[in-house]
Point group: C2
Chain length 147, copies 2
DNA sequence: ATGATATTGATAATCAATATCAAGTAGGGG
DNA sequence: CCCCTACTTGATATTGATTATCAATATCAT
């Protein structure tokens, strides 16, 4: 767990943009990478706090934006459309299915989506950055409970 | 443009839930139906104001939630993930493509999505309410401008 | 018409996310 | 290694959208 690869990616991103590599930024990146799941900015803030209580709220928000810029993280919108972040570096595109009752989130892999999306992109002259497919409903467990 | 159908749907929804049919609610529904596009709660508030300046901000928010409950409206999330509302009654499911630069939104119809989604639903024992596919990128016009 | 109950609109409160800004730091050039 | 300057930081205030509160009012089954 040294995250050497990701740190290098982040460093070169920062340099390319004339930004500085600070201890806070690296600590936040490491904390982010240490949890293989969907985190809100505040979740990450709490995580970072445990290691270094001096790091400010705003810095976590700012750094998450940078991580997205460096393609190390991506924003996603799950339950109640709260902004969450997930790992992007070395992770394939995927879709999400969210239980509107308990919030449980399942990651899907529907490869057919990609080509459908590509086709549409061409048809409309769009230059596509990204796409997101979110299914919402009631998970098996909640369906049983409320029956 | 008397919206008779929709008003009846709304009325029976309200009755079924033990809620009351008020002038404000009907006015807000009519204003909502009068614009065939994606509106924020505040967009709708401004629209309603023109007809009846006495109607409060909060009532518009509250009524939009009811319209969603009655399947007359649905929430969507476009640029910057602002909450918008669109007509649902008598409208087929569709997908959206949004330009991250200018906000231009195109409605798509990708019928293949439906069956893909249904398949996944079964596989995971979910009871699906809804799904949303959003493509984001740079539209043809913005692509030309920034070239 | 009556009365229980839902609704309204002004207002305050909340919440996540940003902006501000003085003090501190990184890091390239010398 | 030191300087200088532009970038960063963290505390704090601010924003902007949405929701909660609550006294006054309207609805509707009876
Ligand atoms: Mn995911
Ligand atoms: Mn639409
Ligand atoms: Zn569930
Ligand atoms: Zn555009």
């Amino acid at each position: 767990m040294d995250y050497k690869e990701e740190i290098k990616v982040f460093s070169s991103f920062l340099k390319r943009r004339g930004l500085k590599h600070t201890d806070q930024r690296e600590e936040i990146l490491k904390a982010f990478l240490s949890e293989e799941k969907h985190l809100t900015a505040d979740d990450l803030y709490l995580l970072v706090m445990k290691k270094n209580p001096a790091i400010g709220h705003a810095t976590v928000y700012r750094t998450l934006k940078l991580l997205c810029g460096a393609n190390l993280a991506s924003e996603i919108y799950l339950k109640d459309n709260r902004v969450c972040y997930e790992h992007k570096y070395g992770h394939r595109a995927h879709e999400h299915m969210v239980c509107v009752h308990c919030g449980k989130t399942i990651e899907l892999r529907i490869p057919e989506i990609e080509s459908l999306v590509k086709k549409v992109e061409k048809e409309h002259g769009f230059k596509l950055n990204d796409y997101a497919l979110k299914l919402s409903g009631i998970c098996a467990k909640c369906g049983k409970d409320t029956k």
